[in-house]
């Protein structure tokens, strides 16, 4: 309840000042996997053109919450979602909402780089093609090039666009996946531990990229790395055992958290 009021206050503030508006909003979101409840009444807002980091120990429900935002949980037969999630005020679980359209607006980058076993070009061009975003080959080429540029990958792969995407290094593959997500021109990009399979240099490269992407996209990132959350995010939400413990500006969360569990987790006392 405390969080609700705080969020409400900030929303009021944002209408009057330059504070960013709310892009996605979760209200009393609960998820069951069969009999097991994985998420308990989570209320969390995602602000436009900001990076929201979800942190917490393993199994705390942060990935589950992330996957609710573009209904990826639909692919799990036993998963059941209750509560309300809105994108620009529209309920994404409304039966009238087309899940294909939703996922085009809310893109996703996964923990493990998962390029299609096709060429680099095809990897990026697939999304625009199925959504009919390009009317000509030239236009499609343009989308592929700009997406790869935005993902900071173009210079590395421009001479081998027709080679297999699976032949790239891990960090390049993950940036290819980001380019693939960008190519569809989503409004929100969800990232589920995008750097967990990468080495520190590739991680730094992806983090830089996330910071750049913030200008144009709203980003939600799940991470296990406190430093990463502190480096890339503007807002942080702390999950524990399926509950949202605390949510707030990243600076405040890392210097002066309200909840003792957050403090303990951040300082490495548990988790």
């Amino acid at each position: 309840m405390n969080i609700m009021t705080e969020a409400g206050v900030e929303q009021k503030l944002s209408s009057g000042t330059t504070a960013p508006s709310i892009k996605m909003k979760g209200e009393k979101v609960s998820v069951h996997y069969g009999e097991k409840r994985a998420l308990f009444d989570v209320d969390l807002d995602v602000r436009e053109n900001q990076v929201t980091a979800l942190i917490g120990p393993s199994g705390c429900g942060k990935s589950t919450f992330l996957r609710c935002l573009n209904r990826m949980n639909d692919t799990i037969d036993t998963a059941r979602v209750s509560g309300k999630i809105t994108l620009d005020g529209e309920d994404v679980y409304d039966p009238k909402i087309d899940v294909v359209e939703l996922r085009a607006r809310v893109g996703m980058v996964f923990q493990k780089p998962n390029p299609f076993p096709k060429s680099i070009y095809e990897n990026v061009a697939y999304g625009p093609r199925i959504h009919g975003l390009a009317r000509s080959k030239a236009e499609l080429d343009g989308i592929v090039e700009s997406s790869l540029k935005k993902a900071g990958l173009f210079n590395e792969v421009k001479d081998r666009l027709l080679e297999s995407g699976t032949g790239l290094s891990g960090g390049q593959q993950q940036r290819l996946c980001i380019a693939r997500a960008i190519a569809v021109s989503p409004e929100v990009i969800l990232m589920d531990e995008p750097c967990s399979a990468l080495d520190p240099i590739a991680t730094a490269r992806v983090e830089e990229l996330i910071d750049e992407l913030r200008q144009n996209y709203t980003i939600v990132i799940v991470t296990h790395s406190m430093q990463q959350a502190a480096r890339v995010s503007q807002r942080t939400a702390m999950f524990h055992l399926g509950y949202l413990v605390e949510e707030g500006a990243t600076d405040k969360m890392f210097t002066n958290p309200d909840d003792k569990r957050t403090q303990d987790y951040i300082t490495g006392r548990f988790g």
Partner: protein
């Protein structure tokens, strides 16, 4: 390893639970088990390999004679007097060929012997001759040298499969015949021939008389340009031997033959226990030594349909029947099987109904194939009234049998596509169908094709269900369509194996070899597909 362990001891490390005697014994026991297992495994593989080699070598050695056929070249009179070019269909070509053969042996006069002689060439001769004349009318108008296929027994004898022919033995003395033809007496210069006859199963009678019955080996004396078969021997005066014999091939003269001009041909297999008589053997040997018989590639076997006559029987009808059946099977089982697998794996809700369907599909794969044949008989033939013995029905029955195999293999390979690929496609807004058809199915395709080919190979070798729908019929014509009566390779093998004629034994093995070649090719394609399209991600 043991060195390392003992060196620990030498260094003087304290004895722990991992280094004491009990531990060493445990370790030794573990290695002993491993060695045992290794040897057992190697033994099993070696045994399996041995059986495989045994099986293949048996089939191959039996099949090789069937790949060639002996042809007899005869000068055949096709002049206008014999063959009227205007009425080619009214000519008795068999008689013309037989005349040419009897003309080759003018000495043979008795009707019985003539019939025996005519039997040396295949009963299909007339058909071949007519076909060849129709294809090349230029043969008409004179005498042409024409190669006719030999009858199966003659062919088998020449391949050495019908009788054990011992080596020719020199006769150590002179031979004097009493006449040149008919039943004659032979006088040998010494009695060595008596011992020889005893050694070859002659029956001892009174006064040292030796009788060579049909249960004894045949002793043929070859001299003076002819052949005499010995029937009885007795000791003669002054250490000579006198023999009675029957002339098989007339002698040139009654002059005595010196020892180096006569020899004895022994046919070890008694005449009573072989399918070819001494006369036929002598004629064939004469024709062969005259260079009139040649062994050719057996195109009859590869390119004609079934026949009751072993030398005329071919596998082509069965191969075409198998091919047509497999086309129907593939056309039905592949699309239905893959669709069912995609639906069950990607779209179907996981509930009680789909679980029941899944269990039943798995059970169907284990249903005996003859049950599918009964189903085909009851449903396709009796209920829907489809044609009997037709590849279309055979294909449908085999498709029912192959379906569960394809479904199970397809589901397994769909399941093997990593979920990350599905998530990636769904994550950028691909619909379920797009995800499956653009990404999952292409990745699963090599596995699906492998499963399909193996299922088809299984179907190709299937006999039992097709017996039920009448594909066991004796069909001479090559099937021209899906509804023509046909038989298939394994059923052809089954039928040939059942025929009593000795000639079919080789044909059976050769047909098995052809079936095996097809199966090996299909399996090789499956392996190549798997290698070629296997992707790593």
């Amino acid at each position: 390893m043991t060195d390392a362990i003992s060196s620990f001891g030498a260094v003087g490390r304290p004895v722990s639970i991992h280094t004491d005697d009990a531990a060493k014994a445990r370790l030794k026991g573990r290695y002993r088990t491993e060695t045992w297992f290794k040897w057992l495994g190697a033994g099993a593989v070696a045994l399996a390999g041995l059986f495989l080699v045994l099986l293949l070598s048996t089939i191959v050695t039996q099949a090789i004679p069937a790949l060639r056929q002996n042809y007899l070249t005869l000068p055949i009179d096709l002049s206008a007097a014999k063959v009227d070019p205007a009425k080619l269909d009214a000519v008795n070509y068999d008689a013309i060929a037989q005349e040419a053969l009897t003309a080759r042996f003018p000495d043979i006069t008795s009707r019985q012997d003539k019939r025996l002689l005519r039997g040396l060439i295949s009963t299909g001769t007339g058909v071949f001759l007519r076909k060849d004349i129709a294809a090349d009318p230029g043969m008409l108008g004179g005498t042409v040298d024409y190669a006719v296929p030999l009858d199966d027994f003659a062919d088998l004898y020449l391949k050495g499969l019908l009788a054990d022919v011992g080596s020719d033995e020199a006769i150590s003395t002179s031979v004097t015949p009493s006449k040149t033809s008919g039943d004659i007496d032979l006088t040998f210069g010494d009695d060595a021939m008596l011992a020889l006859a005893r050694g070859h199963g002659a029956t001892e009678g009174e006064n040292g008389m030796l009788t060579l019955t049909s249960g004894a080996s045949s002793l043929l004396v070859v001299f003076n340009g002819g052949t005499v078969k010995l029937t009885a021997l007795s000791p003669g005066p002054n250490g000579t031997a006198v023999a009675k014999g029957t002339v098989i091939e007339a002698l040139d003269s009654t002059a005595p033959a010196a020892s180096d001009q006569a020899f004895l041909r022994v046919i070890d297999t008694p005449e009573a226990s072989r399918k070819i008589s001494d006369k036929e053997i002598v004629w064939l040997d004469t024709l062969k030594s005259a260079g009139q018989i040649e062994s050719r590639f057996n195109s009859i076997f590869f390119f004609t349909g079934a026949s009751r006559e072993p030398e005329l029987a071919g596998v082509w009808g069965a191969v075409v029947g198998s091919f047509l059946t497999m086309i129907v099977t593939l056309a039905i089982a592949f699309p239905i099987g893959v669709s069912a697998a995609i639906y069950l794996e990607e779209f179907a809700p996981k509930n009680r109904l789909t679980t029941i369907i899944e269990v039943n599909i798995n059970n169907l794969a284990a249903v005996p194939s003859i049950v599918f044949g009964l189903l085909g008989l009851a449903v396709f033939l009796n209920f829907f009234g489809m044609p009997r013995s037709a590849p279309v029905v055979g294909g449908m029955v085999l498709a029912l049998m192959t379906l569960p195999i394809i479904i199970i293999a397809s589901r397994a390979s769909l399941r093997a596509v990593p979920p990350s690929i599905r998530e990636a496609a769904l994550g950028i807004g691909a619909s379920k169908v797009q995800t499956v058809f653009h990404h999952v199915l292409p990745l699963a395709m090599p596995g699906i094709m492998t499963g399909t080919i193996l299922g088809m190979a299984h179907a190709l070798g299937e006999t039992a269900p097709l017996l039920m729908i009448g594909m066991v019929a004796f069909i001479v014509d090559i099937p021209a369509g899906f509804t023509d009566p046909a038989t298939i390779l394994p059923v052809q093998i089954f039928m040939w194996a059942d025929f009593p004629e000795a000639g079919f034994q080789q044909k059976t093995s050769a047909a098995i070899l052809i079936l095996l070649v097809f199966l090996v090719i299909m399996n090789a394609i499956a392996v190549i597909l798997r290698r070629r399209f296997e992707r790593r991600w």
